[in-house]
């Protein structure tokens, strides 16, 4: 597949925006993703809402593809890794443990998001290094909530940003990276998520995910 990334320079550092809905920091060998909502389908099923299983497999395949394409050594989850306590069924926990084992050499760090707080202790087999509110690395702060921090550029998730393109005759809504002056927001990684339209302030850059390509708009 013709995959097109975009490069941005933030805080003097070169970063890549991947169409797999991930941010890659080549110098640190670090890949960051946000809002994976593992077990969301299963939460619905537990509430008597018949949703087909399948989102998780596709999401994991996409995450593996991003890891392999970049050769990343570290993976940062910027919050909302799991959707709810009910969604973490034995099957789901086991499936994710197997996925984790297939990337055993990758170091995984989770910065907790609001959904993650419903699950006090995450399964040990997932081998996650859990941070309660943020992880500061190099010139960056990685967090779940997009709140500015003096002295560091913040990368966050939570908002599931989407951009609306077009006018009266044709309209599209696409997941996007919203790179602001002090805070950058990643698109929600899970395909089973809605989102908020971004409002662009002067100087902001927006990168839409158009199938296999990232396009600055």
């Amino acid at each position: 597949m013709d995959s097109r990334r975009c490069q941005v320079r933030v805080a003097g550092t070169l970063l890549e925006l991947l169409p797999e809905r991930a941010l890659y920091w080549p110098d640190a060998g670090t890949l960051a993703v946000a809002d994976l909502h593992w077990g969301k389908t299963e939460s619905f099923q537990q509430h008597g809402i018949p949703l087909p299983t399948g989102v998780l497999e596709d999401d994991l395949a996409r995450l593996s593809a991003a890891l392999e394409a970049t050769g990343a050594r570290r993976l940062l989850f910027l919050g909302d890794l799991v959707h709810s306590r009910q969604g973490l069924t034995p099957t789901v926990v086991d499936r994710l443990a197997r996925w984790r084992a297939s990337h055993a050499s990758v170091e995984c760090v989770l910065v907790r998001g609001n959904h993650d707080r419903h699950v006090k202790v995450l399964p040990e087999r997932w081998r996650l290094d859990v941070r309660e509110s943020h992880a500061d690395e190099g010139p960056f702060r990685f967090a779940h909530h997009p709140e500015a921090e003096s002295g560091r550029y913040v990368w966050a998730g939570h908002l599931h940003p989407r951009v609306r393109l077009g006018g009266r005759s044709d309209t599209l809504r696409l997941p996007c990276f919203h790179v602001g002056q002090a805070v950058g927001v990643l698109p929600a990684f899970s395909a089973f998520t809605g989102g908020l339209n971004v409002s662009r302030r002067a100087g902001d850059r927006i990168f839409a995910i158009a199938g296999p390509a990232v396009v600055e708009v």
Binding site: E42, Q45, P50, P52, G54, L165, R168, D170, A210, G211
Partner: protein, 837 residues
């Protein structure tokens, strides 16, 4: 609803023993005493009433159709009441189902009134969504002999584990305003509930009450179910409708589009007369708000005589208005379809319709709200909101003269409604699949249900999907000792919250800071408000403060309110009958026949259409092309109503994109459709009779429906009925938030991971049926293919095209790749940014 004056408000709950002159006949059979009560009221039983009582006594079921105000309630009720009195048993025996919970109190009074001549212990009570919890608690222990309820509350009762015993003693079911339910999923749901009741009480008789319809035989069959042959009772009462149109002073300043009709407020205010009580119907709630405000501004001296009534207002306010109207203290009420039905207004003298009534049956119904005297002529005043509506009004009068009332076609075995019913039955004592399947088939809507369809729907609530995909954690209905029952208490709670087929967007309560309730507005509207924004609601200017726990807090606005809430789904399509009448009327105008005053008034606009382009004729198809800064437009005017135009627009867009790669935005209204593309397109060559071919019609429409957004929108309602989307009710438990997802997101997940899912198939089917109702689109295509094409290039949108340009875009269809579209849209964005900089 009933004959004569409303009964006195203080009827005792339990009337026992002789209380009137009819007591002289104590010891006489109950029906004799009820006839005596009739005479005491100064009424004479009409032949159709006697006929209905006799038919009931013979054990028959059926349909009574008579004009509003002819006394059909007592025609249906006195037979069963006499039956109950004669047997002297306790427990639920008569069930009275009404589509509107707001009218239950009036029905209650009317049904209690005759009790006083009966020497029997009979109680009459309501149970609706408005019933207090203490009354519900009492009813849980013992139901009254006569219970008034809505289809939805009836279904909630059916979820009670004791349902089989509760309904076993039922003698009669009366379904009021059956014509309102028949063509909707509420009707399908009620048919299933009635089938269940006939299973619990095999001897029960069903009587439905209906206004005039084109398909009364069908209405009767669906009311009584397949095991009974319906008896039809009709009154020889005619209610002619006289139409008058309030003409604009000059059509020059009269808008070509829009639907508020604000330029007519002053003329209507001058026409109204507080000495003659009036209902002023509008087609939307936003329009009602604006008209109420406008009339109060025009006639400040009427402050206490004029009121507003629509479905989003708080119940207490609606009841105040209904009460004021009945006792005569309120003289003019601006309302929506909230007052189409029910409530016996007695004193209403005049009826005004602002904007096109969109249908003939609806016009008759609204006209019938005034002057409740059998045989009297009903008058209705039409107020056009834009120039072309004058044509619709001339057409409506013509169709009324010809008595071209529309049919209401029942939905065919909708699976989402059946899925909801299966969970209801699982809760209400459980079921065995074979027995329930046979029972479901006794409902006429589901008579043709195949074994596979039943099994498929059952597996939807048992395993998640019939397609045997993995739904490992799904549980709603489980099998226990051979019976299907609900999985757990959580399923039961969510299901009861979710019962019903009336789908709407999530609503939030509207309250003052101090907690006083105002009503409700759609969440999607509130979410766009910023604190400090002002809007008009319930005739008051309000300032939005904040949204918390599904409640929007407001305070009286200091500044003038600048906007009116938008409520979704409130615009009705032009009916088949009226659409045909509009084509006839325009054709006459094209040939110089402008004899009606409406057409004469609209003439300057029709003349402009004629000069810029043509007036559409009945025998040809008018197409216009035009270029504006929005892009390249194609307009077509089939005059088939917006639903058919939606299907047609998607179909034509698909066929055009096959000729050349393009993206089309589609816009439709009742008159025609517009295809708009940002890049030049050779419409002149492409618009050709071959475009309208019926070949590959179904395949093409399915493809366009897949590509387009029609089925996605249809899926939204289906998902809600089938219990895939949970309602966001105020006070709903927070845990429910984790299972909220938009229907369009759910649609995408199903389309990707279980594309054969039953409910997706239903969405496609409903789009097909609703766009092609009785092959209406196929017939339209046939007509268009055979019509000579009149293709005109115009320099700017014509009077017919302009409303389509201002209409909101309804869908888009593209044969470009996503990346190509993004690149093109990006360019456009850059250009616009540059322009605004």
């Amino acid at each position: 609803m009933s004959a004569g004056r409303p009964p006195s408000p203080r009827t005792p709950r339990r009337a026992r023993g002789p209380a009137s002159r009819a007591a002289a006949s104590a010891g006489a059979p109950p029906l004799e005493r009820l006839r005596g009560w009739f005479r005491d009221k100064g009424w004479t039983p009409t032949p159709f009433q006697e006929e209905a009582w006799a038919a009931y006594a013979r054990g028959e079921s059926g349909l009574i159709h008579v004009p509003t105000g002819a006394g059909k309630t007592y025609a249906a009720y006195l037979g069963p009441l006499a039956d109950v009195a004669a047997h002297g048993q306790r427990g639920l025996q008569v069930l009275y189902v009404t589509p509107l919970r707001a009218v239950s109190r009036d029905v209650e009074q009317a049904l209690r009134e005759p009790l006083r001549v009966l020497d029997a212990d009979i109680s009459v009570e309501s149970r609706t969504g408005d019933t207090s919890s203490s009354v519900r608690q009492r009813q849980r222990e013992r139901l009254p002999e006569v219970l008034i309820t809505t289809p939805e509350s009836l279904c909630v009762l059916l979820t009670n584990e004791q349902a089989p015993a509760m309904f076993a003693s039922l003698r009669a079911i009366i379904v009021d305003e059956w014509h309102e339910l028949l063509g909707t999923k509420r009707g399908s749901q009620l048919e299933l509930a009635l089938a269940r009741l006939r299973h619990f009480a095999p001897g029960v008789r069903t009587w439905a009450l209906s206004a005039t319809l084109a398909n009364l035989d069908e209405a009767a069959r669906h009311a009584v179910g397949t095991r009974h042959t319906p008896t039809r009772v009709r009154a020889a009462v005619e209610r002619p409708v006289a139409v008058e149109t309030l003409l604009p002073e000059s059509v020059d300043g009269f808008p070509w589009a829009g639907h508020l009709g604000f330029s007519m407020v002053a003329r209507v205010a001058a026409w109204l007369d507080v000495e003659r009580s009036t209902l002023l119907f509008t087609n939307t709630r936003a329009q009602a708000e604006r008209w109420f405000e406008g009339l109060r501004f025009a006639r400040p001296e009427w402050e206490h005589l004029i009121a507003l009534h629509h479905g989003s207002l708080d119940r207490a306010e609606r009841e105040r208005v209904e009460g004021g109207l009945k006792e005569g203290s309120l003289r003019i009420v601006v309302c929506t379809s909230s007052l189409d039905l029910g409530v016996d207004f007695g004193p209403v003298e005049r009826v005004v319709q602002v904007g096109s009534p969109k249908g003939i049956g609806r016009t008759m119904q609204r006209a019938g709200r005034g002057a409740h005297r059998p045989g009297a002529t009903c008058h209705i005043l039409f107020v056009p909101t834009h120039a072309l509506e004058l044509v619709e009004m001339a057409a409506a009068r013509d169709a009324l003269l010809r008595q071209e009332v529309e049919p209401r076609t029942p939905p065919r075995k909708p699976p989402d409604v059946l899925a909801q019913h299966l969970v209801t039955c699982a809760l209400g004592g459980g079921f065995t699949p074979e027995a329930l399947r046979d029972e479901v088939r006794t409902a006429a809507a589901y008579a043709g249900l195949t074994d596979e369809e039943f099994a498929g729907t059952l597996s939807l609530v048992r395993e998640g999907s019939p397609s045997l995909r993995a739904y490992p954690e799904f549980r709603r209905v489980v099998e226990h000792d051979g019976r299907c029952v609900a999985a757990d208490a959580r399923v039961a709670r969510l299901h009861r919250l979710n019962i019903g087929t009336i789908t709407s967007d999530a609503v939030v309560q509207l309250r003052y800071w101090n907690g006083a309730r105002l009503g409700s507005v759609e969440e999607s509207y509130v979410s766009r408000l910023k604190p400090g924004d002002t809007f008009l609601f319930a005739g008051k200017g309000l300032e939005f403060r904040r949204l918390q726990d599904m409640t929007a807090y407001v305070r009286p606005a200091k500044a003038k309110a600048t906007q009116t809430p938008r409520w979704g789904g409130s615009r009705l399509p032009l009916s088949t009958s009226l659409a045909a009448a509009v084509r006839r009327t325009l054709d006459a105008a094209r040939h110089g026949d402008v004899t009606s005053e409406e057409l004469a008034a609209a003439w300057p606009v029709l003349d402009a259409q004629s000069r810029l382009s043509r007036i559409p004729s009945a025998g040809s198809l008018l197409a216009e092309t035009c270029q504006t800064r929005d892009g390249h437009h194609l307009f077509l005017y089939p005059f088939e109503g917006r639903l058919v135009h939606e299907g047609l627009a998607a179909l034509l867009a698909l066929r055009l994109t096959r000729l050349r790669k393009a993206t089309f935005a589609l816009s439709v209204n009742d008159y025609g459709l517009e295809l708009l593309t940002p890049t030049p397109f050779p419409f002149d060559e492409a618009v050709h009779p071959a475009l309208f071919t019926r070949e590959r019609l179904e395949a093409d429409i399915l493809e366009s429906v897949n590509v387009g957004e029609l089925s996605k929108r249809q899926f939204r309602d289906i998902a809600r009925v089938a219990g895939l989307v949970l309602p966001r009710l105020p006070g709903a438990r927070k845990s429910a938030r984790q299972v909220q997802a938009s229907a369009s997101l759910l649609h995408d997940v199903f389309a990707r991971y279980d594309p054969d899912h039953l409910l997706l198939a239903q969405a496609r089917q409903e789009v097909l049926e609703q766009q092609f109702e009785e092959g209406r689109l196929a017939r339209t295509l046939e007509r268009l293919a055979a019509s000579p094409l009149e293709l005109v290039h115009v320099r700017r949108p014509t009077p017919l095209g302009f409303p389509l340009v201002v209409e909101r875009i309804s869908a888009s269809l593209s044969s470009e790749s996503l990346l190509e579209r993004v690149e093109r849209l990006k360019e456009r964005w850059t250009r616009e940014d540059a322009r605004s900089a």
